[in-house]
């Protein structure tokens, strides 16, 4: 039951973070969105054994997290949400892929171990990329960015409305469940006798609320599409931000940077 309240608090926390004023927060949302999408694309495009090649990409979350003044601990907690399913699938790689990949003396590292770690790294990179975008960009700016990327306004309105009513309905559901649990003697979860009526009541209330919301929107001049704040075009520094990251990502993708670094240090080039 506390999951509902927790989710509500998390949304509020993300909104608070997104409204901070740091270097990263000031970058245009479109630039940040494009960088995020490219990072995810590049990360996923690495082969399943590219453990060493992929490591330099970790520099992105390290830099953004610090420049945007975000807490690492909080972020790791958030990243863990989707981990179980990924871990479950990745564990099977350890089992099924036993071909030796590297041998150090008597210890051999199997392909499964490598691909397991690669999946974990990819997971951390892609999830943190998304979260960092949300934690440094207010929703209004993000919707403007989506508009600029030619996402239909109808979908964006739909998205912002769902998001806006989320906290309201989370709170309402939490109240309902608290009332239920206070009257239901140590039961874990909602009993089947009231599945329909409990959620159904919530649904009826939701429908009534939608009606009121629509009336209120009409009173304020709603004409079918929600207005978004129209922010200025990309500035020069936004272009720098975009180009610098994209160049870095492409470099990481094309060159095996850690190996080159290692070659320099171990004299492998001679």
């Amino acid at each position: 039951m506390s999951k509902l309240i927790e989710s509500g608090l998390e949304l509020r926390e993300l909104e608070r973070l997104a409204n901070k004023k740091t270097l990263i927060h000031q970058v245009n949302a479109t630039a940040k969105l494009v960088v995020t999408l490219i990072l995810i694309g590049i990360t996923v495009s690495f082969s399943k054994y590219a453990l060493i090649e992929i490591i330099p990409l970790l520099i992105y979350p390290v830099i953004i997290m610090n420049l945007a003044d975000l807490s690492t601990k909080h972020f790791f907690k958030k990243i863990l949400v989707g981990l179980p399913f990924v871990l479950l699938i990745a564990f099977f790689n350890l089992w099924y892929d036993q071909t030796a990949w590297l041998i150090f003396g008597k210890v051999s590292i199997t392909g499964g171990m490598v691909s397991f770690l690669v999946i974990l790294l990819k997971f951390i990179l892609t999830v943190s990329a998304g979260l960092l975008l949300i934690a440094t960009t207010p929703l209004t700016e993000l919707t403007t960015a989506l508009l600029r990327l030619k996402i239909p306004p109808f979908l964006i309105t739909q998205l912002s409305l769902t998001y806006r009513y989320l906290s309201v309905l989370l709170e309402e559901t939490a109240t309902l469940l608290q009332a239920y649990s206070l009257r239901s003697f140590k039961k874990t979860g909602v009993q089947y006798q009231v599945w329909g009526s409990l959620v159904g009541q919530l649904l009826l209330r939701t429908l009534a609320r939608a009606e009121r919301v629509h009336q209120a929107m009409l009173c304020r001049g709603f004409q079918g599409i929600a207005f978004t704040r129209n922010k200025s075009q990309l500035q020069l520094c936004d272009w720098y931000y975009l180009c610098a990251w994209v160049c870095f990502f492409v470099l990481v993708r094309l060159l095996n940077l850690p190996e080159i670094l290692g070659m320099i240090f171990t004299g492998g080039f001679r």
Binding site: E10, V44, G130, P152, Y163, V190, T206, G268
Partner: protein
């Protein structure tokens, strides 16, 4: 069963993202032309409702465990397939971005699995087909149950297919299928029962909602099959290309690490790709030239390069860590 970015390949993510964008554009057009403008806030609020309702634990009688609501079927019953699909998409997008539940590149796959199947397949072909205004309570209950189970089975089948085609998981298809389908059979039963209870309650409490809140979008079966065919061709086309290039990439990485070629019998297509790779690879052959595969010893490992790689990886991690510390230091200094 939200797919993560880490488990899919760009090709799969791309194909399903494109398909989903197409479906969303089609649904948006349908909804907009048939939409009574008051439905827009309704879609938003119902999306938030399903989101919240997904977090309710429904106790499964006699087991001590609990199940959850998915929402795709319920949304299409309440709103019609097109609006239901869009609302489900909005929910999944918010889950991916704000709650890190499901990947961003994988959004196409997730919306397809959890939105397309219940809204565009199961709802029109099963629910709408068998349930009408005069249906009895038992019938509504039964059909909702069957529809929810089928929807989830199709969705989890989607997950298996997308994961396997991405080639990242080593799990054999058979095991994966048995695992996923059986887990989702149980989940589907709970989802079906919950959906059925809600629908039955609603049918009784608000008989005027017998019709979907929004007029049902007419979906012709012919169009549905046609779009399926297009998707199949699209997936097939991309995969035949992808399937032939993937082993090549793999082989290349095995060659680099083990110094031995695993696959023989290359086609000219493979050779061409190999030549292309050699020409355009950033550091062509700087490892391979010096490698003398050791006879009879498999896998023979080129110690030099592997060692350099591992040392470099450690150094890169160290650098990233140092960068963090330096940035933190400067931040503190500027704060005072």
């Amino acid at each position: 069963m939200h797919m993560a970015d880490a488990l899919i390949s760009p090709a799969i993510g791309g194909v399903f993202a494109a398909t989903t964008i197409g479906l969303a554009a089609y649904a948006a057009k349908k909804v907009q032309t048939q939409l009574d403008e008051k439905q827009l806030p309704l879609m938003g609020v119902l999306g938030a409702f399903v989101f919240a309702a997904q977090m309710i634990n429904f106790a499964i009688p006699g087991t001590g465990s609990s199940g959850h609501l998915g929402g795709g079927l319920l949304l299409s019953i309440l709103l019609g397939p097109a609006a239901g699909f869009l609302t489900m998409a909005a929910i999944l997008i918010i889950q991916a971005f704000f709650f890190a539940d499901g990947g961003i590149l994988a959004l196409g796959c997730n919306i397809f699995n959890l939105g397309f199947f219940p809204c565009f397949i199961v709802y029109p072909l099963i629910f709408r087909h068998w349930v009408n205004q005069n249906s009895s309570k038992t019938r509504i209950f039964l059909i909702s149950l069957i529809a929810a189970i089928l929807g989830l089975q199709l969705g989890s089948l989607g997950v298996v297919i997308q994961t396997k085609l991405s080639g990242i998981s080593e799990l054999p298809v058979g095991t994966f299928l048995i695992l996923m389908q059986s887990i989702h059979l149980a989940i589907g039963v709970v989802e079906g029962l919950v959906t059925a209870s809600i629908v039955s309650f609603l049918w009784q409490a608000r008989p005027e909602l017998n019709q979907p809140v929004m007029p049902l979008v007419n979906l012709s079966t012919k169009k549905l099959w046609l779009s399926f065919l297009v998707l199949a061709l699209l997936v097939g086309g991309v995969f035949s290309w992808f399937a032939s290039s993937q082993p090549d990439g793999l082989e290349w990485s095995m060659f680099r690490t083990s110094g031995q070629e695993e696959f023989t019998g290359k086609s000219t297509w493979h050779q061409k790709l190999g030549e292309f790779q050699e020409k355009f690879a950033a550091l062509p052959d700087y490892n391979l030239k010096n490698v003398q595969p050791v006879e009879g010893k498999y896998p023979s490992v080129d110690g030099g390069t592997s060692f350099a790689g591992v040392v470099g990886a450690g150094l890169t991690l160290l650098l990233a860590g140092l960068l963090g510390i330096v940035l933190k230091f400067f931040k503190k200094r500027t704060a005072y």
